[in-house]
Symmetry: C2
Subunit: 185 residues, 2 copies
């Protein structure tokens, strides 16, 4: 077990995490590390002391933001009685997450190579999506050929739309859902 951090080190670590969160949210997961250090009021060397690689920083930030958020969305979707509404809810939630903050957008749409840790968290979210997709498909309200890969494409596509028109994804999702639904035009 690692020795406890010194008091000032804890402070700096926290400041770095806070700065990184807002910088990533604003500029994306490839935001310059030097900006983060500056925003934290700390030298670049200190940043590298605490987080030797960019992935270390991401690992400290993303899982605890992504995991609960995705779980919550899946839970909401599964709480819907109607499988189709559940599916709708899931997508609106996921894409809403992407739209809310550029860091999540980059992570969910994998715009950037992710560390195993973050990848694992995304994988868990994906597992839950399988349930929701399966339920809607089995109920006959989602195209039987709808595959998880389609969901992946959708996150890529929406990541791009969101970047140029942060509100535009809702309209796009409406059209897409309409194409993916069975019956009840």
């Amino acid at each position: 077990m690692a020795r406890a951090l010194r008091a000032d080190a804890v402070r700096n670590r926290d400041k770095l995490l806070a700065a990184a969160a807002s910088e990533f949210a604003a500029r994306g997961l490839d935001a310059p590390l030097e900006h983060i250090a500056k925003r934290a009021g700390v030298s670049i060397g200190t940043l590298y002391n605490h987080f030797p690689t960019r992935d270390d920083l991401l690992d400290a930030l993303l899982p605890e933001r992504l995991g609960p958020a995705m779980a919550e969305i899946a839970a909401q979707a599964l709480a819907e009685d109607d499988p189709w509404r559940g599916f709708e809810t899931y997508l609106a939630g996921l894409l809403g997450l992407q739209a809310r903050d550029r860091a999540l957008n980059d992570a969910i749409s994998q715009r950037i190579p992710l560390s195993p840790e973050v990848h694992a968290v995304c994988g868990q979210g994906f597992e839950q999506a399988l349930l929701i997709i399966g339920r809607a498909r089995d109920a006959g309200c989602l195209r039987p050929d709808f595959e998880p890969a389609d969901l992946l494409s959708l996150t890529w596509a929406m990541a791009a739309v969101i970047q140029r028109n942060p509100q535009g994804w809702r309209r796009f999702l409406d059209l897409y859902l309409n194409g993916v639904r069975v019956g009840r035009r």
Copy 2:
């Protein structure tokens, strides 16, 4: 009127344009100019001699590739008797263009700020799209609320899909078209 170029200058200009075309096609419109000079077998200074800015290079390249291609696609689409098939044909053609080469993908989806020249060419293509959209809408086979802006979003979305899965756009387009169509499920 500018004086005629010297023979070696013409040769170099041509080599530069050829190199730029393949480099842009492979790496996108923000490919390093130094790579282009190297590929052309010419010094970076010579590149800047002929094309003082990146836009000058793009202006010499894109309009003559983009203009005819987009016109051709629109013509094909309008040649279809069935307005819906025309609309389908148009989108398949446009997105196929994006998928064919990264330079066109970047230009059509405007991943990068474009010069007025290139922008004008894209605008012309857009005009033709209006006809095809209007025809399909008036015939009642395209959602009446489908707007040109939806087409723009689609090019953004597809640009992203194409970058990660060059074939994936066809599947995505199928789903999308299904959502945008009226009647005939």
